[in-house]
């Protein structure tokens, strides 16, 4: 139980990173690879948030009731992840638009068949 408590989030995050990278390594459909990227990014975000967790902590927001500051979880990873999520969205959108254009030009999304640029 203790082990689970300590590691379950890390397991989730590393699992996502592993699966994302695995998709990127093995799959050759472009959309699939982009899905892999998105999973990878989610994993990284989860990992960073996990770093800032505090046992029995509260969200880093002061309200009328909660003015106690020393049990708040670390706000910095949250700020970082907020940024990272948006950046991830930007990259994904760009990647998908490129995928559309790629399909227009090559009529396939199989990257094994798209090898004009090599050597």
């Amino acid at each position: 139980m203790d082990f689970l408590y300590n590691y379950i989030y890390y397991i989730g995050a590393f699992g996502l990173i592993l699966i994302g990278l695995y998709i990127l390594l093995v799959k050759h459909n472009l959309i699939k690879m982009i899905i892999g990227l998105s999973i990878l990014e989610t994993g990284v975000n989860l990992f960073i948030i996990t770093l800032g967790y505090l046992d029995n902590g509260t969200a880093p927001i002061f309200s009328k009731e909660n003015l106690e500051s020393n049990m708040m979880v670390d706000p910095v990873p949250q700020a970082l992840v907020l940024t990272a999520i948006v950046i991830g969205l930007a990259v994904l959108a760009l990647a998908l638009s490129l995928a559309i254009r790629l399909y227009d030009s090559f009529k396939t999304l199989n990257l094994k068949k798209i090898k004009e640029q090599k050597w």
Partner: protein, 226 residues
Amino acid sequence: MKKFFSLILLIIIVVGMIYTIHQIPFGKNQSKIGKYFVANGKDETGAANIVTSVVVGYRSFDTLGEVTVLFLAAIGLGAILTTTKKQNHDIEKASLILNTGCRFLFPLVLLFSAYIFIHGHLSPGGGFQGGAVVASGFLLIYLACPGKRINKVGNTISESVGGLIFIILGAIGLFVGDRYFLANFLPKGELNTLFSAGIIPIIYIALGFKVGSELNSVIDKMMEES
């Protein structure tokens, strides 16, 4: 074979990470800067939501970069997609229920998003989340009424002006008070009230508009193609 090899590689990488994780016990960790922000954030910036005070206050330069990234994505998407030749699709009409439902929901979604980014310094949420909600509202309309398009000029202007407000507010900070970029030069106000936290709500509102219109233009460009 390749899959097996890939798995071995990935497992090595993960093992490396696990070794490092041992240094970071879960749930015990409170970082130096995190402690500082939690302790002093509300006094220095006046925002009740410490994440907001970090995102728009201490680390607002990151946020500027982040907004730029989003801007870039919208622009880059446009640059890449404009060069395609337009194809004619027969537009499928959505059902009446969906249509009406969306039209009904749309103002509510916008209102909600406005709430989110106006109260960014008080409660969870802020410019990004609000902007994303705006975009999903427009997405609803796109799905429900396939012919409808956003006003490009208005969208572009709100996109640009949002970014400009951010930078100009930052630059004003160079001339007042402590003279640093993105200084919070307005009065902090009382904690947990709407008019508090100086420039943070203004920036977040500008960001809300900017992010919303950028995401809109992203969706617009993508939809234009389909």
